[in-house]
Structures are given as structure tokens and as C-alpha cells.
Amino acid sequence: MSGESASALQRSQVDLLDFVDWSGVECLNQSGSHSLPNALKQGYREDEGLNLESDADEQLLINIPFLQVIKLHSIVIKGPEEEGPKTVKLFANRSTNLHSNVNDFPPSDTAVLSEDNLKGKPVIVKYVKFQNVRSLTIFIEDNQSGSDITKVQKIVLCGTTVETTDMKGLKKIEDH
């Protein structure tokens, strides 16, 4: 896994956590006590005890807007073997989703997670479809074991920003 992250860094991908617009982050069908920050936020997601869990059924709809335009390279979704997500659909720039109309539009990308992925192996997305992303919608359709509750332990988004004005820290930003 460190090899993977090293290669990600080599390609100057960064963790897009800093560019998430927290005021607009939404998650539908999450359980009250186990909510999205558990999987997304810096400190919480490292804690294996804190999960994002679904509520009424096994589907989850997560909407993440960004502070600036980004290109998405890959994602990491970690979860338990049994209740971790299986089919994950990604939508770029569709922030008006409800569970009911999430299937009206073809996703920008679909990923079926394997056990390795659940342990932290990143899923490389179709980069060409994620060149100009203002907001990302993650739809978790079902989980590994088909149980009623889906648990997600960690979500990491890797990519680059489009504008080069962000000089925060010493992060390398990809030059054209």
C-alpha cells in the first residue's frame, strides 16, 4: 500500500481532502450515529472503530463539493470485509441527486470493489471523465455480503487541482 501511495505521490497526486467544501457535503441514508465525517475527515477515518453506516437500507449517496476545480485520479474506499461496499458509482458534477433519480443518468465511472480495494488499494478511475470536477457524487449501491447495512471506514480521494493558485503548504502541484 505504501508503494501505491508513493507512486501516487510521484505523479504529484494529492489527497483532495483539503479541497473539500465541507459546507456542502451531504450523505443520504446515513445512520445518525455513524455519519460521513467518520469516513472522510482526517482524524476520524484513520480510526478503524469509526464507520460510516447506512440506515434504512444498504445504499448510500454521498455528495462532495470542492472548493475549486479538480481532476480526480483515484479513490480509496476502505471497509470491513462483509459489509463493505461492493458496487460504487461515481458521478462528476451532479449535485442534485436523490436516491430516486440516481439511476437516471449513466455514472461517470463504476467500480466494483474487491477485497483488496477494501483493504486500501486505490481504484483508478477513468481519468478522462474527471478532468473538470466541481463536485463528486459517490453512490454505493450494495455491499459485499448483501446485508442491510453498509459500512465504510475510510474514503480517500486522490487527484490534482486545476488552478495553480493554491500555494497552501508545500504540496507539489502538477504542471502542464
Binding site: G32, D55, A56, Q59, L98, H99, N101
Partner: protein, 475 residues
């Protein structure tokens, strides 16, 4: 829905509750939006798409009768971060001149349409809430309802249920199951309102449905509802309105009694007239002087200028025609010593005169006082409005009015009393002459619309004449 087990009947109780909730929600947060849809009858129909305009919502609740059967009052509200649609499951028709009553409510379809309406809200940051007024029995399975509830929860729509009307065990069970399926952190509530003397609205005010949304709801409810004030209006906050409401209530009562007595009054017309003239003199000079029983009711709490006006005007219009003229002439001469402005004010608010006479007399008064019509009206705006509304519906008083207008002496006496008008002014003289001839003609005719037109035209010519006269005299 026409059952009387909720006062006055189920539909009315529901409509009141709906209006109250709409008001509370729109007031509690300026970004809230509310919509209404009906569930019963032919099918689900959205009456009002979510809007923050309370007037539109109230108007649709009182809309003209339509033939589509079935009506509900679901409302959508949106708070600072929320928008809630509400469903009302009732049918409406019958006495209420707005919605048709009939059929059974279709809860599942109604909720789904409401959810759709919420989905297409303009401000996506609003939270979604549905309020259901479930008066009819619920014909869906528990399973179906639970499915719907889960779907609502998945899409983070909260649901409030007001269960009233038909009571059967299944209905309660089903609604409870629905609520359990939707409920997420206690954002959804259910209220069972059994039939009884207290109004549906009152019961709702104290529940979480009102207060659940936060501060504003309860404040509004406390102020507007049965907080101990008559007519639901606080005299401290809005004295004019409270006064006007009280007066019009009394006069409505008096009018009804008078109408009942009218048949018996034929024989004793003259006596009554004299008695009333006495009382009118009393009121004219602003003494509280209990005369006959009828005027007594009207004068019993006169303290105000406006009260005196209203009461006296009411007494005037209650008079029988034959005594009217004599009485008024007497009053005019008596009052000539009074302040002219005040006297004319007294004629400003005759409830049951039609709007024509109203406006003309009002304009005359304004001329004298050198006010603009606007200032004058705003001073007397509220009582005026109430009076106009009542008079618009009032047909029986046309007789009085026509007699009044036809009486040339009356009008001329008005004119002479105007300080700025010189009776010898050629304009005025012409007017009086023309009026006299017209009124003589029309006295012989029966009441016809044409006659009324003549009256109106008389008035307008009078007005113009007065204006001209006034201009001549440099007013």
C-alpha cells in the same frame, strides 16, 4: 368530512389548522416555503406549489368551488435549511366555497407527489418535511406504508402526521408504523386528535408539529391563537383591528336581531322611529344615552369617536324608510351647531351603504379637511374595510339607500352644511335642481338597476359640483 365531531365540521377544522400551520411556518423563517396538495377524490392534485407567500396559500384554501372532487391540504414548508411539504388527507366540498369533499384519501400517492414537489424545490438547501392531515381511513397495507416511510428517510424527508376524523385501530397502527419507518432522530412526529369540543388548531398548537421547527413557530402560535384574547387579536398590539372586529361582531349580532324583529315592526314603525331619533341625537352629541333596546345594544360601550360613528351609522341604516328622512333632517339641523368636520365624519362609515355613497361622502369630507383621500382613508382604513366588505354583500339595505339618495332634501342639507359650499352658487343650484327632478322621477319607479345608476350619477355630479364650488371659493 362534514361531521360535526370537530367544530364546526371536520373540513373547517382542518382548514383552520392548515392555515394556522402555514402562517406559523412562513413566519418562523423568511426562507420557508409552503405548498398544499390534496389527496382524495379523483386524484392527487397540487393546489399551491411551495411558496413563501402566505396570501397565495390562504387564497387557494378559499378558492372558488371547482368540480374536481377531493381536496387535501398538504403543505410544504421550508425553514432556513428546510422545506416541508405537507399533505392533508381530507376531502372538501359543501358549504366551504373552495374545495370539493368526496372520496377517500390516497395516502401513498399523496406522499409521493409531495416528495416530488419537494425534490423540485428551488432552494436545494432547504430541508424537506411533509405534514399529513389524515382524516379518512387508510386503505394501504402497513408494508406499503413502511416502504414509503423508508424511502422518505433515505431521502431525508421528515414527516408529520395529524391523525383525526375516522378512528379505527388499524389506522393508528398503520400511521405509527409509517412514522417509525420515517423517523430519523425524532424529526418526525405524529399527533392523534380525538373528536371533542376543542378545536383541531388549538390542539395542534401545543404539539411538536408547531414547536418542533423551533422558536418562531411557537411565538406566532401563541400570539395568534387562543391565548385568551377575543378574536385572537391582541388589543395591545393592534387596537384598531381588535376594536373593529369587536364592533363588527356586535353589529352583526344586532343586525340579525333587527332582521328578525323587522317583521314585527310594521305596526310600530313611527314609534320606533322617534325613539331611534332620540337615541341618534344622543349619539350625535356623543352622550351615551340608552334609548330603546335596540340602540342600547349598539351604544353600550361607546367610548371612542369611531365607535360613535359606527354605532350611529348602524342605527341609521337600521331605520325604516319613512322615519329615516325625518330623523335625518332633524339630526342635520341639530348638528349644524356641531363641528362640521366631526359631523361629516359620522357619515363616513355607514356600514350598509354601498361603496358609491361611501366614497362620495368620504371625498366630501376630505375636501373639507384638506386631507388627501389617502390620509383620510388610512386613518379609518380598517373599520372602513370591514364595513365595505359587509356592505358589499348586503342587499336588503338597498331600499334604505335608495330612499336616502332619492331624498333631495337630505343631500341638499349635506351640501348646505359644508362650510365651503355656498347654496347660492350657481353650480350647486343647478345640481340641486337636476337632482330634484331625477329623484322625483325615480321615486315613482320601483327599485330597478337603472334607478340605482341614477343615484350613483347624482352622487357623482354632486361631488363634482362640490369640488367646483370649493374651487370657486378658494378651498
Amino acid at each position: 368530512m362534514r361531521n360535526g365531531d370537530y367544530s364546526p365540521n371536520r373540513f373547517q377544522a382542518q382548514a383552520d389548522a392548515v392555515n394556522l400551520i402555514c402562517g406559523a411556518k412562513t413566519q418562523s423563517n423568511p426562507e420557508n416555503t409552503v405548498g398544499v396538495l390534496t389527496m382524495a377524490g379523483k386524484g392527487v392534485r397540487v393546489l399551491v406549489t411551495p411558496t413563501s407567500d402566505l396570501g397565495k396559500i390562504l387564497a387557494c384554501m378559499h378558492a372558488a368551488p371547482e368540480q374536481t372532487p377531493g381536496a387535501c391540504a398538504p403543505l410544504s414548508l421550508g425553514a432556513r435549511l428546510s422545506k416541508t411539504p405537507r399533505l392533508g388527507g381530507y376531502e372538501a366540498r359543501g358549504p366551504a366555497p373552495c374545495l370539493e369533499i368526496g372520496g377517500e384519501m390516497n395516502l401513498a400517492a399523496g406522499i409521493q407527489v409531495a416528495q416530488l414537489a419537494l425534490k423540485h424545490r428551488q432552494n436545494k438547501k432547504q430541508q424537506q418535511r411533509i405534514i399529513v392531515f389524515a382524516g379518512s381511513p387508510v386503505k394501504y397495507d402497513k408494508k406499503v406504508l413502511e416502504l414509503i416511510g423508508r424511502k422518505l428517510k433515505k431521502n431525508s424527508v421528515a414527516l408529520d402526521i395529524v391523525s383525526f376524523g375516522e378512528e379505527d385501530e388499524e389506522k393508528n397502527e398503520k400511521l405509527e408504523a409509517l412514522l417509525a419507518a420515517v423517523n430519523n432522530n425524532d424529526s418526525s412526529h405524529i399527533v392523534h386528535v380525538p373528536s371533542g369540543p376543542s378545536a383541531l388548531s388549538d390542539v395542534l398548537i401545543s404539539t411538536a408539529i408547531f414547536t418542533g421547527d423551533g422558536e418562531g413557530g411557537s411565538g406566532f402560535a401563541a400570539a395568534a391563537a387562543a391565548s385568551g384574547f377575543e378574536f385572537g387579536v391582541d388589543p395591545n398590539l393592534d387596537p384598531e383591528l381588535a376594536l373593529a372586529l369587536r364592533v363588527s361582531m356586535e353589529e352583526e349580532r344586532a343586525r340579525q336581531e333587527a332582521a328578525a324583529k323587522k317583521a314585527a315592526e310594521e305596526a310600530s314603525k313611527q314609534e320606533k322611529g322617534e325613539q331611534q331619533s332620540t337615541s341618534q341625537d344622543a349619539t350625535m352629541t356623543e352622550n351615551v344615552n340608552p334609548g330603546t333596546s335596540e340602540p342600547e345594544k349598539k351604544t353600550h360601550d361607546l367610548t371612542d369617536d369611531e365607535n360613535a360613528l359606527l354605532q350611529q351609522a348602524l342605527a341609521m341604516s337600521m331605520d325604516d324608510s319613512s322615519s329615516t328622512v325625518a330623523v335625518r333632517d332633524t339630526d342635520m339641523s341639530d348638528a349644524s351647531a356641531d363641528d362640521h368636520d366631526l359631523q361629516l365624519d359620522r357619515f363616513i362609515l355607514p356600514h350598509q351603504l354601498p361603496v358609491d355613497l361611501f366614497m362620495v361622502v368620504e371625498a366630501l369630507c376630505c375636501l373639507l379637511e384638506n386631507q388627501t383621500l389617502y390620509e383620510h382613508r388610512s386613518r379609518l382604513a380598517i373599520p372602513l374595510q370591514l364595513s365595505v366588505q359587509e356592505s358589499a354583500a348586503e342587499q336588503s339595505n338597498q331600499t334604505d339607500v335608495n330612499k336616502l339618495l332619492a331624498d333631495q332634501s337630505f343631500v341638499s342639507s349635506i351640501l348646505t352644511s359644508l362650510p365651503g359650499v355656498d347654496p347660492n352658487d350657481p353650480h350647486v343650484k343647478d345640481l340641486l335642481a337636476s337632482m330634484q327632478s331625477q329623484s322625483e322621477q325615480s321615486k315613482e319607479e320601483d327599485k330597478t338597476p337603472k334607478e340605482e345608476e341614477n343615484k350613483s350619477s347624482i352622487l357623482y355630479t354632486v361631488l363634482r359640483g362640490v369640488q367646483a364650488g370649493g374651487a370657486c371659493n378658494g378651498i
